[in-house]
Amino acid sequence: MAVALEPGPVRIVVAEPPPGCEGGRLATVDALRRLGGGVRIEVVHDARACIELAGAADLVVVDRDLGSEGRAILTALRGAGPPAVVVTPEATADAALDTFRAGAADCVTASADYGEVLPAVALEQIRAFRAASARRAVRERIESLERLHAAIIDRFPAALAVLDAEGRIVTVNPEFARAFLGAAPPGAGAAGRALEEVLPADLLASADLVELAARARAGGGHPPRIARTQHGGVARAFDARAERLDPQGRTLLVLADVSEREQLKQLQRQVLQTEKMASIGQLAAGVAHEINNPMGFIHANLAQMEEYLGDVQRVYRAARELGERAAADAAPGVRAAAERLSQLATELDADSVLRDFAQAIRESQEGSERIRHIVQDLRAFSHRDDGQVVPADLNRCLDATAHIVWTMMKHSVVLRKEYAPLPPLPCHPMQLEQVFMNLIVNAYQAIEQRVRRDGGTGEIVLRTALARDGVVVSVSDDGVGIPAEHAERIFDPFFTTKDVGVGTGLGLATSFDIVRRHGGTLRARNRPEGGTTFEVFLPLAGPARRGGCEGTAGSRA
């Protein structure tokens, strides 16, 4: 009768009167030995020793003859520890009941078949005890894992949402609730709803989160996207990822707040841009000067060559006229010379050479004119501190600028103005008009590109708004937009996508620098509906370097 109990050896503690006392002690231990060699039996003679060993045992067998000590053991083990089996000398129902009440798991009478019954009872008790222990261990493990799980999700520093196969929210973590559900108690009200009902519209649109989740649900991979929102008046950026959790299509959406990182990146870009501007400004001034010297004589010489060529052409025409007359009626020697002249003119194709000469000069003049223009732009770029700061009405500046360029674009563009009443802003109005001019002309050129491709007309929206501490002027178009690969470079000097001779690539760089010198910011973003918006923010305090508002209303406005 070997015991098949795994794992670990079976330990039984037998509590019985000390040797010499009356009782069937040898019989009890002998009976239990029949369980096999894998069973370790320890014999104790008092309650204290028994309770001490019971913690590591699978079964305690108490001899009834132990009296009050036996009762103390039962009381101690009741509800905790291994089962206790009591061996009683008499087989009365009262005695059995008594031991059960005291906490025994079973009761065996030391009768004739005691040697058979005790091992069977012991085995049954051990099995039940071990099964219960195993179940309890599993339950505790599950509970511990669940607690760990909940703690991780609750404390996870990103917004998590589990979506079902239809894309509806199953559950969200407290961070999600805090970030997007406002004052609502954690998770309340989100379950069963679609992402569109819960997340801010601009956040959803900026990274197409619904599509992101659907793609993950279908098992598709994707790089994380940056989702942005202005919800609640604060600009925030999130790193958005979605993963399928199981074959049923449940999906985990993770939105990690990376606003600080993104702000830092933005700041870095601005610092870099500013440094680039400063060094290029210095370079530009030097280059402009160096180019101007040779340009000086090229330009003047071309003008002179044109004049000289006019003179030569007049002499040539007179000579040809003389030649024609001489060929008709002069003496033979003169006639021969006249024929040579005519022959030479034909051979050399002199008429068209002179015409082409004039053409070559005109084209060179055009080129030198273009260089002069570039150098002027460069100078404007490097030298922009002239003029006083005066308070100006930006709506009027914008109007004046739009008016100048309007004739060129009125055939293909509708102009819409959405002006807010603005207080006078201390600024260099001419410089800001240059910025507005650049932005409007860029908008027009973006529309032209789209119209050439798709036909139709375009719309430019000029918008002004008063912010808390500044003025926002925006120029929106429905043109071709800025390709992603150009987004980082549009404010770089000399970066242009325009045809040769159309743009020098300094317009936006100059604008960026002017706005920066006013203490403001210039940003570009593609509109979801197509086209681009350039947004100028100018602080009401005015250009910082000159101590804010320098002129007063009466001085030069």
């Binding site: 001034a285 402009a288 101007n292 010297n293 340009m295 000086g296 004589f297 330009h299 003047a300 002069r372």
Partner: protein, 124 residues
């Protein structure tokens, strides 16, 4: 310009091609033209010749155009003084006024404007 000798014009530039281009431009303006490729030569010519107007480059080795014109003002106060430069932004307006400089001509120049500026400077 009535009878009498033609006005004498002194051109100063360390870039000889500028000098020849200026000479070409002004060839038919009826001036007697002197050309100097540096401030030292210009000052020598100022001592030796009657000069009615000086048109000088600004950035030259040894002495700037402004310094040259300042020296010229002491030698020949009656001569009209003009500056021609590829970097007009770098010249402080206050100094131009203080030195009585009649015109600041940018490089590259517009021929008509240059001729006009010279005529006006010589008439005063």
């Amino acid at each position: 310009m009535s009878a009498g000798p033609p006005p004498t014009l002194l051109l100063v530039d360390d870039e000889s091609r500028i000098l020849s281009a200026l000479c070409r431009t002004l060839r038919r303006e009826g001036y007697r033209i002197l050309a100097a490729t540096g401030p030292a030569e210009a000052l020598r010519l100022l001592e030796a010749e009657p000069v009615d107007a000086i048109l000088s480059d600004h950035k030259m080795p040894g002495m700037s155009g402004l310094e040259l014109l300042e020296a010229a003002a002491r030698r020949r106060p009656a001569a009209a003084r003009m500056l021609i430069t590829g970097w007009p932004d770098a010249i402080p307006g206050a100094r131009l006024t203080a030195l009585g400089i009649r015109a600041l001509i940018p490089k590259p120049w517009d021929d008509a404007e240059l001729k006009q500026a010279l005529r006006e400077a010589l008439q005063r």
